[in-house]
Every structure is written in C-alpha cells, then in structure tokens.
Symmetry: C2
Subunit: 320 residues, 2 copies
C-alpha cells in the first residue's frame, strides 16, 4: 500500500531533499537512465534525478516521428536553459515501420507502446550501462493500472521481466506517492518553466492518435501541420484542450476549378474541468472560419474542415 501525499500536505523542499538522498543512496556509484517525454511527470522526475545524480543520469528524448512541430527542440530547449542535457534519439524509422499497415486504433496504440518499451528504450537501457531506471509513475497511474484503465507504466512489467533478477536493474519511482497537482507543485519548486505546465494534454501515442486510419509519415505530417495552425489559433481562449484530427474518409473538393477528392480535418476545442465531462468551446464563428481558411491554405491535400459540436459524453475528447 502506497501512502498518498496530497498536494496540500506536500512540502516541496523537504520532499526534494528526501528523494535526492534516496536516489543517491540507491544508485550509489552507478548510473541511471530515464526517458523524457516533455510531460509534467517525466519533466519533474528528470529535474529530481539531475538534482541527485548530475551527469550520472542520462536523459533521453525519443523522437518517434509522431510529435508536434518543433516539440523535440522545445522540450530540449527548456532543459538546456536549466542546465540539463537531453539526448535526442531519432527512432522515427522504427516507429513508422511498426505502424505500417495498421489502422485499428488499439493496435496503433500498442505498436507505439511496444516500439518504445521493447525496441527503442529497451535497447537504450541495455546499452547504456546504467543499472537504475528512473520513472515518473504517479499514484493515479497505479490506481488506473489496478482498475484496468491504463496499461502498466513499468517498462519491465510490460515485458514480463523481473528487472532485478534478469539484469540487476532497479527501478526508481520517486513520484509514486503524488498525484498530478502535487507533481505540478514539485515541478515548479524544481524550477520547471511555466510554459511546460501550460502545454495542453497530449495523448501517449502522440499524433498517431490524431489520424483515423494508417499513421504514415505523410499523414502524420498532414495532421502535424493542421495541429500547428489549430494550436496557434486556439491557444488564446483558455480552453481545456484543442486538437486537429485527420479523417480517413475522402470528400469532394475543388482543385484548379475541377472536382477532386481530398481529405478532411476535424477541429475539436473543449471546455472542461476534469476531462470527465466536456463541452465544445463556443469559439466566435469568424475565428472558426479563419481557422478553416488557414488550414485549407497551409496543409496540402485538405479540402474540408469541420468543428466538433458534440459534448462528452457520448463523445470523448480525443477521436481515437
């Protein structure tokens, strides 16, 4: 049974002192490795690990080809400014090879997860010479794993391996007593910039979850460009979440005065407190029209743009 520390009762300075000591004692003279996604949990655990281990923590950002425009640069830039070196590992070819031909949403999710844990990060861990793995698991992840909502975050349990017995690895999960609000409080105390906390939620399978049908490099590039326009246009409305979805359905459009089939982008923008229920944001209609015009002008192959007007439930925030 893990003892929860609420955000209210969390004293960041003493928590940091305690965890830094724990990590140092556990790792000893060894090395640790961790994967940074740019989310709040992995960013906070990265800062905590570097506070404890300095250069003896190797932090990798896996470029899976499914990120938003400029995302790797943005995240590594945040950390460079904090004096933390993040190694970018280009694994685009591996992810797209794993996604090839897959259209089922669950199978896509599984391909992204397996490629990350089993192939890319698994290999990095084995090759790193590190004997400790730092993970940003939080209490909500544990609850959701127990409830069967989420897959197990622990990389070795994913693989059905006892890491200690098999490789002599130890897994460190210093955030496991916290929930999201506690992690935010801790991350701020560790000096993470406000922009990092203000980034909107982004799904695990990244842009692969934003295309209906196969996630080819070309289709991911299409939804990436649409996502950039949507985020630029809608970031000022203070909404909970906003996203672009590339549909698989083809619809009629006009190209050089002639009928031609093209692709459709669906835009969703949500008002929500906790993501359990959500309503579409009443964005002024002229802004929606401008947004559509900009997508149609900037994104090759798109001939149609729609805006979601259904609430959750029965809709969900993401399409896949």
């Amino acid at each position: 049974m893990i003892r929860e520390i609420t955000a209210h009762e969390l004293d960041p300075e003493s928590f940091i002192r305690e965890k830094v000591e724990d990590i140092r004692r556990t790792v000893g003279e060894g090395w640790a490795i961790n994967a940074l996604s740019g989310g709040v949990d992995s960013s906070t655990v990265t800062m905590l690990g570097h506070r404890a281990l300095g250069e003896r923590l190797r932090t990798v950002f896996v470029e899976n080809g499914l990120m938003r425009a400029g995302e790797a640069e943005q995240v590594t830039g945040f950390f460079r400014a904090l004096g933390v070196t993040v190694e970018v590992v280009d694994a685009r070819a591996e992810f797209f090879a794993a996604l090839k031909g897959i259209t089922d949403p669950e199978a896509k999710r599984e391909a992204v997860t397996q490629t990350f844990y089993r192939d890319v990060f698994g290999r990095l861990v084995r090759e790193s010479g590190a004997n400790h793995l730092l993970q940003g698991t939080i209490l909500t992840d544990v609850d959701e794993t127990v409830a069967g909502i989420k897959r197990q975050h622990n990389v070795f349990e994913q693989l059905g391996i006892d890491p200690q017995a098999a490789f002599g690895y130890r897994i460190l999960e210093p955030l496991i007593q916290l929930r999201k609000d506690g992690v935010r409080k801790l991350g701020q105390a560790l000096g993470l910039p406000g922009e990092l906390f203000q980034r909107i939620p982004f799904p695990g399978p990244a842009l692969a979850a934003r295309v209906i049908g196969e996630a080819t490099p070309e289709r991911i590039e299409t939804v990436r460009q649409a996502t950039r326009v949507v985020e630029e246009t809608l970031s000022g409305y203070g909404t909970f979440q906003y996203l672009a979805i590339l549909h698989e359905d083809r619809v009629t459009g006009m190209r050089d005065g002639r009928r031609d089939f093209g692709q459709q982008i669906e835009v969703r923008c949500w008002d929500s407190v906790d993501a359990r229920t959500a309503t579409p944001t009443s964005v002024p209609f002229e802004i929606l029209e401008q947004l559509a015009q900009e997508i149609l002008g900037a994104v090759p192959g798109i001939v149609s743009v729609t805006y979601n007007i259904a609430s959750k439930p029965p809709s969900t925030i993401e399409a896949l």
Copy 2:
C-alpha cells in the same frame, strides 16, 4: 439549336396553351408516362402533362429507399391536392441490391442512375403501353450535357437506343427552352404550391450521396434520421442549403460509461447565391450544440457530430 425563352419574356398562360396543344396533338389518342421526383422540373412537367392529357398521362414516383423521411407522402400529397394521382412504385429492394458493396461515390451514383433508367423506369415504360414519354429536361441540362458536366437526361440516349425506331416511342420535352427561373414561374402559374419551390436542393442519388462508404438500408436510415433533425432545426435560417452526412470513419464514444466506437454525423449549412461559391452559415453556437444533442439522442449509433467551417472552394456543397 434550341431557342431560349428567358423567364422575363415568358408569358406563362400563352406558353401553357401552346404546350398543351403540342402535347395533345403529338400524343393523339395514345398514352404518355412520366417520372415525378418532386423537383421543380418534374413537378412542372407533370402539371403541364396532366393539363394536356388528364388520365392519359401516367405519373409514377419511384420509391428508391433513398428519399428523406416522409418524402413520397409529401410529394404525392401535393399532387393529390391538385387532383393529380401519382402512382408510387416501391423499388427499394432493387436499388439496395444495386448499391450492395459499392463504396466509390461515382460508382454509387452510376448504380442509382442505371437502376432507375435501365431497370425500374425502363421496365415501367415498356410495360405501361404508353407510346410517349414526358420529360422535364430544361435548357441548362442540355448545356451541361454538351459541356460534359452532366450525364444525358434522355432515358433512351442513356440506353443507346433510338426510341422511335426501337419501340415507336416519342419523347416530349416541353420545358426545353426554359431555365430554372422560367420553370419556377411556369410551375407557379400551373398552381404548384409554394412549399414545393421552397424545398432545398437535393442530389440525384438522394441519401446515397449523403453517406460516405456503402449505402446499406441501415446506414441510409441513420442519415435519414439525422437529415430530419437537421432540416427541422435549420429550415428557419433562410440559408441556401443544409444537410447531414454520415461518415464512414469510426470515432471513440462513451456508451453506458464505457469507451466504444461509434459513427459521426457531419452537418453542413451554406450561405450561397448560385452554388458556385458558398460559405458556412454562422448559426448561433447554442443552436449548433442543441442540434448535436438532438442528433446524439435521436439517431442510434451516433457518438459524434461536427459542423462544416470550410468555404467553397476548395470545399463543395455536398461531400460526395
């Protein structure tokens, strides 16, 4: 070369007198047949034909299973009130058999057209004993056929048959010198009700053009129910056109508190003068939300609703 009669120069009463005499002289003691779709052209030619021939014109309404809710009843009701009997021919099974397994939009269109001309109406003409066929061809149809935009409206040329040589049929096209505005003026003079002119444009392949992918009886019923809600909600805004489209893409929804894939309806509502260019109507957001809620509540299997925000061009008014 057909001599055009503009709406401005059209004198409906003398035009009607002249065409009624023409039709009577041509048909003589024989019989004529025509197909009524409920559109302005076929409705006007039906009235003209009945003025000329009375019971010697047999008017059929082909129920293809692809009509909107209550459409056959509405159209036959208009004509019953005018003293004209319209025979409804149930050909639903034939149309759905022809559409089975077809997902390509052009192939669907072709299946609907061929089933109508070659199978259903072709058989009715042959079995009717009529030796004259009345058609609502207008000058714009002729222009568009010449320009290659539209298929040939003439049923026999469709079949590659010289009707006179093969069957002794004659085709009468009394509206061929007029354009749409002239036909409206003529139809009003013939007593057609205003509601018939106010009906919004509806594509030839009917609801088969409103489902992306296969037009099964079940999917047509889904888009029919959504169309009913959309037309009821948006008919009051004085817009050019409004429609519901059933997508083939599946998106995540919630059913009984669990994630489940479902279908999406796209709503389009257009401001336009001549359909060449069009912009999405700025319907108040709370009306769009109500519309979505009503579709989600009334139409089984729908978990998501979007509203088109792209202009024509590069979009088109219909999706297929």
